[in-house]
Symmetry: C2
Subunit: 444 residues, 2 copies
């Protein structure tokens, strides 16, 4: 029985169309598999070359002397079917077809024939017309661009670009992804297969799904509902306006469906919809690092009054409560903080706040603990911010969320440390508050 | 007669409280002035040290043998008045008082006395309790963090953190700022003075204003209206909800005012309000690089169908029209583009699009020209993107806006080139479309 594992955990890959010419897709693909550190066997397939990137090449799949788990195909459309046949003969279980020139330009028949050939051999297909797959736990970057950081966001994306954007942002911030799968024409393997796989994948904590249209209604709905009980799911589904729906139809020849019904379905099952690519990333990040808080009372601690006000505005606008500070806590804070601090919520430690001042404050408020979400804003270059938060992270009843801004190089280093250690850090307070709201809405 | 020029174009600066101790603010300040490349004279003032950062130090202002244009003050609050007096005796025209401990903690009298002393000598004050000033054309980074890139966004910000965030983002993207001024308690010089200055400042193309409360209603309103006829103004004014208004009152003891009235005022005068820090930056960026289009018809060219759909959704949602493609243009595009391209709007060049394909397409659509805004989305690592856009930039009747995503290192390089050359490039299509909408709303 085929499982996506056969593709994602492949131990040997043939790259058909591999090339030494850096302008060819087949070059990028094999180079990223090599540079990504893939530890299994790599077989370049190229009719004319003996070696690709210094690795022995073969004229066709049949000539490869060993077993192959996965073929990655980047050749003109007309040649694809024969390659799938060869791969089938060799007992290959999965193929990623990067090549375009199928359904998306009206070549429905060619796409059907390729699928039929694959089915004859029990082979499963991702694509055609897709941007490939990156499964970081297997160091298998069979896609572009090259992204290596292992994280726990499982991205399955109809749009290669949107999925790649998420993995690039996650890499830049040391968050990483567990998987990036781009589905293209979805002739065979669809988002349903990936969501199903992610549901039990130990490397994946959150499912990030970008779709334009849904072809197999019932299976999709069942899988989404089942998975929502196991892991948080974030969905970016454009085609929400009349013109957007037209654009969906032009792009992948699929039907965006009724947006209100889809929204209602998501709401009912604690699946969170992102409104844009930024939210898509932010919501995945908070789901990958944080647990669902018990309630929606937020305490804001900040070194920047201005940033604190923006956080407050955002919270009030989207329905997060600003916790009140008890008299006891206020008295305690008066004892430990300098005069210029503002002892309300937002609790303003002012611009000369050091990591030590944050630490004293966090200790005091944790002992009090009348809140579910603790937004800590670092609004200056404050070294040691990560260490302070890390100390309180595990023992805190409240979920700690960070916004770090105005901190230049210090900020960049501290934010990476935080993200790497499951402390979600956002570049603006409003993005942090919106992500906190999403966290409250997940079923799991 | 004092002008802000006396501060912003200072040729000699005394830093009172300058220190060799890297934990002191007075260290950061003088280090940033030095490392920022300030070309005038720098006089550290410190009672105990002979040299600060290797520069001869003086025990007090009076001992400095030459004229001083500007003093930057970072000493405890009780010592500030005497320093202002000394500076006044020496004929200094302007002071930036970083020190806190004044109005913001209830010391109204001390703040008034310092101001009174300054007035006796005709000296003007920025602060106290502020994050200082960076005027890049004068290489004068009398603030933190260190930011050097010269650009044309003039930032005046009640919140040091929010202003610093804008200049840091602008630096990272090679946009730069002309000025970052943090006002703190605004005992003397206010946003009105800066807006007035920016209106005629040749280094400033767009005014970026972050305020919480407005103290001097009439002068502010007059200046804003006058300036709106000369340059685009972007305002970030939080305190829009009840809890946000409370937070404003706690922070700077100022009154946020009626938000609806302020919005109506902005709308009437073509002053654009940003809803959050991200919009604040994006709207400034587009205003600094672009001209106001004649209408709101947008053509979207993309290599990513998914990103094109998101752009379309956003445009439709916020009231930008999706231009229709004429039959003539469609026929022309059929001749020059490969089969898989989707010849509608969004015009999808598909994932294997090269800079050359963009160039051919841009030429064809420019000849047709039935649109006011051209959103070009690069959704893959496409080298040469900048050069193509740069070719068409000046001769285009439509304003060209770029979104570049999913491109990794190639993207980073290309985006910097674009921003540096007045081509606004945004990391997501929705941010690009929202910025385009802001551009339509400026008076100027």
């Amino acid at each position: 029985m085929f499982s996506l594992e056969d593709i994602l955990l492949a131990k040997s890959i043939a790259v058909v169309g591999a090339s030494n010419n850096p302008n060819k897709m087949g070059h990028t693909l094999i180079k990223n598999i090599v540079d990504g550190g893939f530890e299994g066997k790599i077989y370049p397939v190229n009719l004319k070359e003996d070696k690709i990137l210094g690795i022995r090449a073969y004229p066709d799949i049949s000539s490869i002397p060993e077993n192959i788990d996965l073929v990655v195909v980047s050749v003109p459309a007309f040649a694809v079917q024969d390659i799938i046949k060869q791969a089938g003969e060799k007992g290959v279980k999965g193929a990623i077809i990067i090549s375009g020139g199928f359904k998306e330009i009206g070549n429905h028949d060619l796409e059907k024939e390729v699928l039929k050939t694959a089915r004859e051999y029990g082979m499963r297909i991702i694509g055609p017309n897709c941007q490939g797959v990156n499964y970081t736990a297997n160091k298998m970057c069979a896609t572009w661009p090259l992204v290596k950081t292992q994280g726990s966001i499982g991205v399955v994306s109809q749009s290669g670009t949107i999925g790649a954007t998420i993995e690039l942002w996650a890499e830049r911030e040391d968050m990483g992804v567990s998987c990036f799968a781009s589905l293209g024409n979805k002739s065979d393997i669809s988002e349903t297969d990936f969501v199903e796989y992610f549901a039990d994948d130990p490397n994946t904590k959150v499912v990030a799904l970008n779709i334009e249209g849904i072809q197999e209604g019932e299976a999709f709905v069942d899988t989404m509902v089942r998975t929502s009980h196991k892991k948080p799911i974030v969905v970016l589904k454009p085609g929400r306006t009349a013109k957007g729906i037209e654009a969906v139809a032009s792009h992948t020849k699929s039907i965006a469906g009724n947006d209100k019904i889809f929204s209602a379905f998501c709401k009912k099952h604690g699946i969170v919809r992102a409104n844009d690519i930024t939210e898509f990333y932010d919501f995945c990040k908070i789901a990958a690092t944080s647990r669902k808080p018990k309630g929606n009372k937020m305490l804001i601690i900040t070194s920047s009054g201005g940033a604190g006000i923006i956080a407050t505005d955002t919270a009030e606008k989207i329905g997060i409560d600003i916790a009140s500070i008890s008299h006891e806590l206020k008295r305690k804070l008066e004892d430990i903080l300098p005069d210029q601090c503002v002892l309300s919520n937002p609790l303003d430690l002012t611009g000369d706040a050091t990591a030590e001042r944050y630490e004293k404050t966090l200790k005091a408020v944790m002992d009090d603990g009348n809140f579910d979400l603790l937004l800590t804003i670092f609004g200056d270059p404050i070294p040691g911010a990560f260490e302070v938060i890390n100390k309180f992270k595990s023992n805190s009843k409240a979920q700690i969320i960070v916004s770090y801004l105005g901190g230049g190089d210090v900020e960049e280093q501290e934010v990476k440390l935080m993200n790497r250690n499951n402390i979600p850090a956002f570049p603006t307070p409003e993005r942090a508050v919106k992500a906190a709201k999403a966290l409250l809405e997940f079923k799991k």
